[in-house]
Symmetry: C2
Amino acid sequence: MPLRKITSLRSVLQLRDRRLNTAVYPMPFTRVEVATLTVIEGSLHVLLALRAEDPHAGQWALPGGVLRIDRDASLEAAARRVMGERLGLEGLALRQLVATGGPSRDPRASWTLSVVYRSLVPAQSVSASPGKRIKDLRWYPVDDLKEPAPLAFDHARLVELAVEDVRAAVDQLELPFDFLPATFTLGELQLSCEQLLGHALDKSSFRRRLADRDLVEPVPGSMRGGAFRPAQVYRRKSAT
Amino acid sequence: MPLRKITSLRSVLQLRDRRLNTAVYPMPFTRVEVATLTVIEGSLHVLLALRAEDPHAGQWALPGGVLRIDRDASLEAAARRVMGERLGLEGLALRQLVATGGPSRDPRASWTLSVVYRSLVPAQSVSASPGKRIKDLRWYPVDDLKEPAPLAFDHARLVELAVEDVRAAVDQLELPFDFLPATFTLGELQLSCEQLLGHALDKSSFRRRLADRDLVEPVPGSMRGGAFRPAQVYRRKSAT
DNA sequence: TCAAAAGTGTTGCTTGTACACCCATGT
DNA sequence: ACATGGGTGTACAAGCAACACTTTTGA
């Protein structure tokens, strides 16, 4: 798309020209990266992309993209756009983890800044389509990330941060309603939390904590019967 | 310094040229801002700068500066440099609060990104010297920031974040040893925490919590006598 | 009637608050 | 002696983990 290239280039020159009389500072190559987590077969996984091009070509890394100041209204919007382009996901909850930057992180630019977000999605909802500069896109279990060879850049640490953040949130019973189905039984909810945390929870404590916090409410007549005693179906109780 | 200008300009062109064959993206105008907190006369204050130039000229804002990719080895280093230049402070603990960005935050550029840090310093240590583009530099109490007229940009929210962050840390007994003198009595320590938090603490609870966590240790023979019963002097117990 | 999951109650630990009480010192 | 801050002990409440227990269903 040559048109976009031209407008982008013009913006660079504009910025340069406008500030030329006062002071000219080169700006960092700015990206957003997204650590996307999900639960597969009972354990936490993170979505990784196999890099096709040369900063760390052939290594796995968090999917991300360049900040587009001509299109993104905010950093979060940039992350959201990247999620949409790369994963076909719209309107999910994103949380900023950290911004990190320095020289020699990426040979394409002399100084790179990355703003890192995390999100939690149902695994099925991802329409993984390896696109430009990505050879492959896969879920990896967070608990042994050494296996697919070390991650590119400092992304191993970023994945750790994302996992800690999610687990801290679930520990505080900040339930990931974007990740959960609209309705669920308490057993299903507890199982989800256990899978996110990586350890078992006590049923009684879990239910009392839920009740104390007024987080969910029963859906009146609705029950869900598996093979055995049917369970009350719950839904998120909207905060007022 | 015309030499610096030339090298900076060259960097811009380098970046442009090197990426010209693949894609050219204009990058955001990138700054770091620092919310510097201290205790004055028993209550939390934040250091604000009176802006001389036009984005919000005449309004108070957090001191900050442009990221200099030719000089800063990391975002935190940039914040540290700004602290040094603006406040004459070296080597203090900084914590990243958030990165925020968008168009139309600053008329000088079409898109601005700010990475925000907070620090906690002893008020006396600041050699406040209003410098370039700053008319005045003053401490304002965080509890009524409406007084000096609304803060520039979204800095009121950033100050709130900094205050919440500091208070959360003190609540967890993450003691701000950079802020405290090297040795102190438990009474002094408790008073500092109370001033940071903005409310009183129970003496007995406070001491038991300190003891449980093994955070401080008595300096063997050392006592400090005010007008009345002398108190044991403590120091930080280095984590092992 | 039994397995399996739903759902409830009871105990006790841990953490922190509230508050009372002694201790040491200068005036 | 007493006022003042240093320092300690006890009682109580909240939050939560551990665990035992009852209930309801399909097979």
